[in-house]
């Protein structure tokens, strides 16, 4: 993984896998693949899935490979790999879509390919790491349409320290466009020991003077974001007492704050938004876009990975 940029690659498969075996109650090993290895890589993926008992993978579409400066999730070979992932039960596809740094190509981080793949592989979950920043709006637009698209908060999370008011905007936008069941905490653990980040988020609240734009964040929403959503996605048991009530308060409840709502999705227009009445995506030119896949807004439609079905112990994921 990222072999063009690191002497030993960015992911240390053997070390990471060994660590998960030492701490099976805390860690899950996620793998990676590169569709540009074509048939050979597919064979390898089959063997790896068997050896590692894979449930998830992390993909870097901006990765270089020979003369290639990146690939798209909707490339024909990408689809072959996603088909195999679906067949092998590797359900959780984490995709790195975040800030561009030289020499990576800007276009490799475009999120439009997630849209197509998510539609064509409804059994897979697509977790967009870094939630597309700085193309948050493109990501949000897609995630509103596609119930199997999730937000990973890596790199967005630490704004809570340096720019807490900006973090409030990001989390406010995500809670508006997605819902609380499809947002996942990420630690960026490769950069630091993330305890401080978790504690900051537990204590976090939308600043009072911003609450006319964004509803206050609830304890249950925080629980879901910090662990229950990932636990549900990976089938990790949740400790007794840590669950949230089965009748999960959806986004509607999160907006029920008194005297608010003029600037938020409210009764005035809550039912006329996506996807049935959705206008074409802002970046889409020409006809042929489909907006009819699901007939109800995704936020009324509890995701199949809803935390309510989660059993009883939780662990973060690695890889």
């Amino acid at each position: 993984m990222l072999g063009a940029f690191y002497r030993n690659g960015f992911g240390q498969t053997e070390e990471a896998f060994a660590l998960t075996r030492q701490h099976p109650d805390k860690l899950i090993y996620n793998h990676c693949w590169d569709p540009r290895y074509e048939e050979r890589g597919l064979d390898q993926l089959r063997r790896d899935a068997d050896r590692f008992q894979l449930k998830g993978a992390k993909l870097y579409t901006a990765e270089w490979h020979g003369a290639s400066r990146g690939y798209k999730l909707d490339d024909p070979w990408s689809y072959r790999y996603l088909e195999m992932a679906q067949e092998l039960g590797i359900k959780n596809i984490h995709v790195h879509k975040g800030p561009t740094i030289r020499p990576l190509d800007r276009d490799a981080f475009d999120v439009a390919d997630v849209d197509k793949a998510a539609t064509d592989f409804p059994e897979l979950n697509f977790v967009v790491e870094h939630c597309g920043l700085p193309r948050l709006e493109d990501f949000c637009w897609i995630a509103t349409q596609e119930p199997n698209v999730h937000a990973g908060l890596a790199v967005a999370m630490p704004f809570i320290h340096t720019r807490p008011r900006y973090f409030a905007q990001i989390i406010g936008e995500l809670l508006y466009w997605l819902d609380e069941n499809r947002i996942q905490f990420s630690s960026d653990y490769a950069l630091w020991t993330p305890r401080w980040l978790i504690e900051r988020f537990v204590d976090f609240q939308i600043p009072e003077d911003m609450q006319d734009e964004y509803a206050p964040i609830t304890v249950e929403q925080k629980k879901k974001i910090l662990g229950l959503n990932a636990a549900a996605m990976y089938g990790i048991p949740v400790p007794a007492g840590a669950e949230v009530p089965a009748t999960t308060p959806g986004p509607a409840a999160s907006e029920a704050g008194p005297g608010r709502g003029r600037l938020r999705r409210g009764a005035a227009h809550g039912d006329v938004t996506c996807p049935r009445h959705c206008p074409p995506a802002p970046w889409s030119s020409g006809p042929g876009r489909r907006w009819t896949r699901s007939s109800t807004p995704s936020w009324t439609n509890p995701s199949p990975t809803s935390a309510s079905s989660a059993p009883s112990r939780q662990a973060p994921t690695a890889g």
């Binding site: 800030p99 020499p103 190509d105 800007r106 597309g132 920043l133 700085p134 193309r135 948050l136 709006e137 493109d138 949000c140 637009w141 704004f159 340096t162 720019r163 807490p164 008011r165 900006y166 409030a168 905007q169 990001i170 936008e173 508006y176 466009w177 204590d203 976090f204 609240q205 600043p207 009072e208 003077d209 006319d212 734009e213 003029r262 600037l263 999705r265 005035a268 227009h269 006329v272 938004t273 996506c274 009445h277 959705c278 206008p279 802002p282």
Partner: protein, 190 residues
Amino acid sequence: MASDAKDVLAALPDAGPVTVLLDDHHDSDLINRGLAADAGYRGTFGAEAEEGLEELRLVFRRKAHAAAMERALTALLRQDPALTEERLHDVVLGDLLDTAATRALLRRRAALGLGTAFSEPVLVDDGGRPFPPDEIPLRLRFARAVRVSIDGNAHFCRGLLRTRYPESAADQSPRATDPRPGTLPKEKAS
């Protein structure tokens, strides 16, 4: 960006010859040679650049317009509690308050080639076309997401700049997320 800075400086009234130098960057020498020769992005980076920056500049101009539009309209909504989002369809440039946000919107419109007359509708797409009334709340909401998203770039870059050059903090103008005058941020209270 460096050549954009040079263009802006050169366009100032009475500007003489303009020299822009990029200091302390891993590609300083390469970029400074390109700047001196007015070589443009492709001329500077050669094989590393697959295309010029015009398309990217247009993307930024469109996003800047959407963000400025949302700022101006949200300010109007705050100022006039009787105004509903649905009625933003009828708001024209002449209805906006004379504020920095409005003046920024006019500049962004001009940069995109959109009209700036008082009678022009405010809530429009990248081509200046008004949205159907039933799409207004969603479009305003999307413009806000654009604004928040593009502001992320500024936060990233300002943070990096301050880390490397602490004295740069004094030069940074407030962001839209800074507390509004007369309000107290509460996030520190926890």
